[in-house]
Subunit: 113 residues, 2 copies
DNA sequence: CCTTCATACGTAGCTACGCTACTTGTCGAA
DNA sequence: TTCGACAAGTAGCGTAGCTACGTATGAAGG
């Protein structure tokens, strides 16, 4: 799918992926691709800046490690990040219902009961 | 809701509103507000440029009329617009499923059956 | 009469944010 | 030794919605 439509929801996706355990950037990209059956194939230029944004916001924390001579920055959800994720989930739900009222089939204009 | 999350979905909303009949810009804003129970209260600076974009793209057509001394530009879906709306609906569905896999409750990681 | 508010259109400039394209570097395989 | 997967990152661009204006009419209220 056209990924630009993610606008505003990327942070939530990243937090959701990290909810299941700490990962490094590259692995996050792979996790998104895997869990979406390839629909979400996000470039590094999207992920890395987003992760730094989340870190600045205090929603994730990172630690460096070296594995096989390769530098890895591993990201982990903070408590604030977990709270933020809950908020993002609520926001996503409202968004999905609101937009769905216009775009989902079944009950366009006047559907009282 | 924070309207910036609409990013990329606004066109679809406008087409969906016009699907039920031609409306002028101001009325479109009111229709969005009404059908979303007030969640979508979009400023004119968002709607008018968007409508012109849709017109340039050939998805809507506009006709001027004067009602009570007030100028009205009434927008109507074109056939291409109707096709575009169908595409937007499909895109919305895929988007909602993909993002939902991460943010909706119920089936986070490995849910085979 | 004059102000104010709802109606109705519109533009200029800002900002957020995801994307493209690029760089740096290690390691394993061909 | 060259190429591709792994791993991180930045600079600059484009899209698109938002803020804050500006214009104009008609109705309501003082």
């Amino acid at each position: 799918m056209k990924a630009q439509e993610l606008h505003g929801h990327l942070d939530a996706l990243l937090l959701a992926v990290l909810e299941q355990g700490a990962l490094h950037g590259y692995a996050i990209i792979e996790a998104l691709r895997a869990r979406s059956d390839g629909s979400l194939d996000l470039p590094t230029g999207t992920i890395y800046p987003a992760l730094r944004r989340l870190e600045r916001a205090g929603h994730v924390a990172s630690t460096w490690s070296t594995v096989n001579g390769r530098e890895r920055r591993t990201y982990e959800l903070t408590d604030a990040g977990r709270r933020a994720l809950a908020g993002e989930r609520a926001g996503w739900h409202e968004f999905r219902v609101t937009v769905g009222r216009f775009l989902d089939p079944g009950s366009p204009p006047g559907t009282p009961a």
